[in-house]
């Protein structure tokens, strides 16, 4: 598409050349980008997409912003990521896999890759290493959280990127958005929820659908995990149930080990 050159409040706005890449993931986050039906055309008009394997055949190595989905689980992925990092001015991690390792990192919890491989592939040799977030391999400029990412947030982030406006995430937990949506608290309905300690920004996606939060966006700033554990107990939920959610997406790493050692006591 031909670019209409814009200025915003006198500041020239350039269409950035962007590329999309995916590593170990379900590609759901990229799909979310195509799922922006209502605004897709405007969204595409903001960008100069030079690489988007899932949607187009043309490919180019000349890009400014790289959106990368997925976690790193193989050496060739790590190498390719480093190449992307070297080319891109801005590296954006999209989705929980890229930001924290995502559900893929659940295999790390066994600390036994051989057993994990054997479970799925038997004796057939297969290459795989511990699942890692992008930031464990290269510096990441921006993270868009969520499993899946929320299109409204992506659009806001991309608009701000294009404008050169700063990008802020809520520091407070999901409860704020849950209450703003006038939901009944999941705990009152007898369901466990990580909302009180998880970073907001998803508009309480799950609680608004009466599903307790699983913490896909990682911890809010200074989460009071200890208190939530007590609340879980008071409502009849076990440490195991809390742990299931806490370790699900990899965002709560430090708190997972704390809870594990606390529940052993």
């Amino acid at each position: 598409m031909t670019a209409k050159e814009h200025t915003y409040l006198g500041v020239p706005v350039k269409k950035p050349k962007v590329a999309f890449f995916e590593f170990t993931s379900c590609e759901g986050c990229q799909l979310q980008l195509l799922n922006n039906e209502a605004t897709l055309v405007d969204f595409l008009a903001l960008l100069n997409i030079v690489n988007f394997r899932e949607a187009m055949s043309e490919q180019s190595d000349d890009y400014e912003i790289a959106f990368v989905e997925g976690s790193i689980t193989r050496d060739d992925e790590a190498e390719q990521l480093k190449e992307i990092r070297a080319r891109a001015q801005t590296l954006v991690a999209i989705g929980s896999c890229a930001c924290f390792g995502g559900v893929n990192q659940l295999k790390n919890r066994f600390n036994d890759l051989a057993w994990v491989k054997e479970q799925v592939y038997g004796s057939h040799p297969i290459e795989s290493r511990e699942a890692m977030p992008l930031s464990a391999i290269v510096p990441v400029d921006l993270e868009i959280y969520g499993c899946p990412i929320k299109k409204e947030e992506v659009e806001r982030v991309v608009t701000n990127l294009v404008l050169g406006k700063s990008i802020d995430y809520p520091k407070y937990p999901v409860c704020v958005e849950c209450k703003a949506n006038h939901n009944v608290c999941l705990f009152d309905l007898g369901q466990p929820c990580l909302g009180p300690i998880t970073r907001a920004g998803c508009d309480a996606w799950c609680p608004s659908n009466r599903l307790g939060c699983w913490g896909c966006r990682g911890p809010a700033e200074k989460p009071n995990v200890r208190q939530l554990r007590q609340i879980m107990h008071e409502h009849g939920f076990s440490d195991e149930q809390m742990l299931d959610r806490l370790e699900c997406f990899g965002g709560f790493g430090q708190y997972v080990s704390e809870l594990k050692s606390a529940s052993k006591e």
Partner: protein
């Protein structure tokens, strides 16, 4: 004030008379995990949905007058100029059917700061001016301490207030429009026996309050106990989740966000309710946070409601509805916090 009495089966007629307007009232929201009924304010489309004998609503009425998210204005941008369009987001007058005294008092308190102050808030005022309020007497719940806050009865800020006398309603009429509505209803002046019954019903209600807060010298005590150890204890429990402020009928602080549309031709300025309990509430340029710890913030909420507002307006910003304590997962309740600060609670160090 004028008084009328009407039979209970007339209530539906009152509803019907008003039903051309938008009606908001208490509706059922299912049951909680213990099987207790849950209520909340919502739009009502059918008289059967109206649950006038509700216990208490989870959220306050605030969403209708101070929406959690509100577009304050939009901008159209041209190459070298822009226009600002302001919309107060009030389009229809709305009937609020069945508010308890605490919630009407809450609106009265909000008026003081949002309309009475040097800079009235036009968004709030526009909605507030388009309310028709029907109050209804309540049954005190174990967590209600409005009596301690002096908000257990309401003297103004409503059009009509109904008290259940058993088979009839005792109506206090407080506005000309309410009077007009009542005249199309089968009602009459109360008899002397009904005066007595009215007083009796209210007395019975008074006797049912079980939850109290000692507010004697509270403004000074809060100053004196500013460094008290109990704050730290509550702070350790607090999740800094802002739920208390979100359900509170009188918490009004907010944040502003401006966003540019994808087309880069339009922008919107949105207001979203905030809470002083949230971690970055008092953060300023350079990252300095004036209230970095959760106990600083929790304390500040009490400080604002029970001291600052009193200094400014001679009354507390808390109406004693108890919602914050009910909604707080960490079981932080106003009566317990204040008792502990006074050195009375079990929590006092």
């Amino acid at each position: 004030m004028l008084f009328r009495v009407f039979a209970k089966d007339q209530l539906i007629n009152l509803y019907d008379i008003l039903a051309v307007n938008h009606i908001v009232g208490p509706v059922s929201k299912g049951v909680d995990r213990h099987g207790a009924p849950l209520y909340d304010f919502d739009f009502i489309y059918d008289f059967a949905e109206l649950q006038l004998d509700y216990t208490a609503t989870i959220h306050s009425l605030k969403r209708f007058v101070l929406p959690p998210r509100e577009t304050l204005c939009t901008f159209d941008l041209q190459k070298d100029s822009w226009q600002k369009h302001v919309d107060f987001n009030a389009y229809k007058p709305t009937v609020y059917f069945g508010l308890h005294a605490c919630d009407i008092n809450a609106l009265n308190k909000l008026d003081k700061v949002l309309i009475g102050n040097v800079y009235p808030d036009p968004y709030y005022a526009a909605k507030r001016k388009n309310m028709f309020i029907i109050g209804v007497g309540c049954t005190p719940q174990p967590f209600c301490f409005c009596k301690s806050m002096g908000t257990d009865s309401v003297l103004h800020g409503f059009d009509l207030f109904l008290t259940d006398l058993g088979d009839s309603y005792f109506a206090e009429i407080h506005s000309a429009r309410a009077f007009a509505f009542m005249s199309s209803l089968e009602c009459r002046e109360p008899r002397h026996s009904e005066h007595l019954r009215f007083v009796e019903v209210n007395q019975e209600r008074m006797n049912r309050f079980t939850c109290h807060v000692d507010t004697t010298d509270l403004t000074k005590i809060l100053d004196l106990e500013f460094q008290a150890e109990v704050w730290q204890e509550w702070g350790r429990k607090c999740l800094s989740c802002g739920t208390c402020a979100n359900v509170c009928p009188t918490c009004y602080c907010y944040g502003i966000e401006e966003n540019v549309d994808l087309g880069l031709q339009h922008a919107t300025k949105t207001k979203h309710l905030y809470s002083c309990n949230l971690i970055d509430f008092a953060e300023v340029a350079g990252g300095h946070n004036f209230r970095p710890e959760s106990h600083d913030r929790l304390k500040y909420r009490y400080y604002h409601k029970h001291r600052g507002f009193v200094e400014a307006f001679e009354e507390s910003l808390c109406v004693g509805c108890g919602r914050c304590g009910q909604s707080c997962l960490a079981n932080i309740t106003v009566p317990e916090v204040i008792a502990s600060v006074r050195g009375e609670g079990a929590n006092h160090a």
